[in-house]
């Protein structure tokens, strides 16, 4: 399974995990990886997220909440 296939296959189930805000094709130590973006890397998430998916490493990135970014007086 290529990295694109792995990302396509696992995105929905990963996004269903509370605290996960994004999944994409990343890179870990030069190798293609499934990048999982989380609001906060809690110990719960550490337990729940796999370290590999179909042989591809999982790269966890703590991002915080991702927001559309205008400067607006009405947040």
């Amino acid at each position: 399974m290529t990295i694109s296939e792995a990302v396509a296959r696992y995105t929905d189930s990963l996004m269903a995990i509370p605290g996960v805000v994004g999944v994409g094709e990343g890179q870990l130590e030069g190798k293609p990886a499934v990048q999982v973006m989380v609001v906060e890397l809690t110990s719960e998430l550490r337990r729940r997220l796999p370290t590999t998916l179909n042989g591809h490493p999982v790269q966890i990135v703590e991002t915080g909440v991702i927001r559309a970014q205008p400067d607006s007086s009405s947040r």
């Binding site: 996004m15 994004g22 994409g24 890179q27 703590e62 991702i66 559309a68 970014q69 205008p70 400067d71």
Partner: protein
């Protein structure tokens, strides 16, 4: 205040300060003799500054011409006597008098006195992207819909069917699907003019891609507004990459990119992931985006609030478009694939 240009004004300001100081002190008439400065020589009004003022006025021009003198005023000595104050850039300024026309001189080391200018925006580039620019305005600066107090970034000039448009996000130009065609786009956006609609009208909203909230996939947060004659140029201000290339390229992991935006000005970043699915928080709810490009900054955040709409280009002389910035957090920035934007709105980048 430009002190070197108007020493008299500075002197007057100091006189005011000196007089206020004197007046405040002179109300303490219960202070026992010998305890602190002797005051009240001028009666109920406090010390008599007339001689000091006269000496200052007579000598200020000559003093200001001397090297190391930053300003001249009046003050009180530690003994409470009116004196002429000379402000110097450092401690070793020679050739200054110890008294002027019988009035003592107090030397005060202030260092160089400079006007306090607005802090240069991070990312460098000299120009402040939140300013109002003369026509044609550059890309990468503050814009907004006239109907809301907000501001985002003018991403690029684009063409469609022979007409020119501003490209930015739906949530910058079209108020998250709520706007009607024809609504005015101001430069700067109202958030940068104290919520007043005093910016220039540069374009009128033409078209936008609807953002679908809830459990649906979006690919772009994009909108275009038709440019008013001569209002918008196709390159950045002088501190940026200039005119982008018209040909987009596909983002690859590790690609070095740059952008010029309203908030963090011009800076560089690196593509961290591609083909990303991301849940993005809007004021109107959460929208899921697919096919996204994720960028991290090389020096601090690549983007902050207000950079929405910036064109993300390759970090080289060609500056090929890669993505349209629309979302992010403190640590990552999300951009739509520029190819998806161009296709959704049937537009072309108006560049080199």
């Amino acid at each position: 205040m430009h002190l070197n240009a108007s020493p008299a004004a500075f002197g007057r300001a100091l006189l005011l300060v000196g007089a206020l100081f004197a007046a405040a002190c002179s109300t303490d008439s219960t202070a026992p003799a010998g305890d602190g400065p002797e005051l009240g020589r001028g009666g109920a009004q406090g010390p008599d500054f007339r001689a000091a003022n006269a000496a200052k006025d007579k000598h200020v021009e000559g003093l200001m011409e001397q090297d190391g003198v930053e300003g001249v005023g009046v003050t009180l000595t530690a003994r409470g006597e009116p004196a002429v104050a000379i402000f110097t850039t450092h401690g070793a300024v020679g050739g200054l008098p110890r008294a002027l026309d019988g009035v003592p001189v107090e030397l005060m080391i202030t260092g160089k006195i400079e006007a306090i200018l607005p802090r240069a925006k991070p990312g460098g580039g000299g120009a402040n992207p939140r300013d109002e620019f003369a026509f044609p305005v550059p890309i990468g600066v503050s814009i907004g819909n006239a109907s809301e107090c907000a501001a985002g970034t003018l991403g690029a000039r684009v063409t469609r069917g022979g007409a020119q448009y501003v490209l930015s996000n739906n949530h910058v130009l079209a108020r998250q699907n709520a706007a009607s065609p024809g609504e005015d786009i101001l430069q700067p956006g109202r958030y940068d003019t104290a919520c007043n609609a005093t910016g220039s009208v540069i374009a009128d909203l033409s078209d936008f891609v609807e953002i679908r909230f809830g459990n649906q996939n979006n690919t772009v947060d994009a909108a275009i507004a038709q440019i008013r004659a001569g209002a918008v140029g196709n390159g950045t201000h002088g501190g940026g990459y200039g005119v982008p290339d018209s040909d987009p390229v596909v983002a690859t992991i590790g690609m070095s990119v740059q952008k010029c935006g309203r908030t963090t000005n011009c800076n560089t970043g690196t593509v961290s992931s591609i083909n990303a699915t991301v849940n993005v928080q809007y004021s109107g709810g959460v929208a899921r985006f697919v096919n996204q490009v994720v960028i991290s900054g090389n020096r601090g955040a690549f983007s902050r609030s207000g950079d929405s709409g910036s064109l993300i280009v390759t970090n080289n002389a060609a500056a090929n478009p890669v993505a349209l910035l629309f979302a992010g957090s403190n640590t990552v920035t999300i951009g739509n694939r520029i190819q998806d934007v161009l296709q959704a709105l049937s537009i072309t980048i108006d560049g080199n």
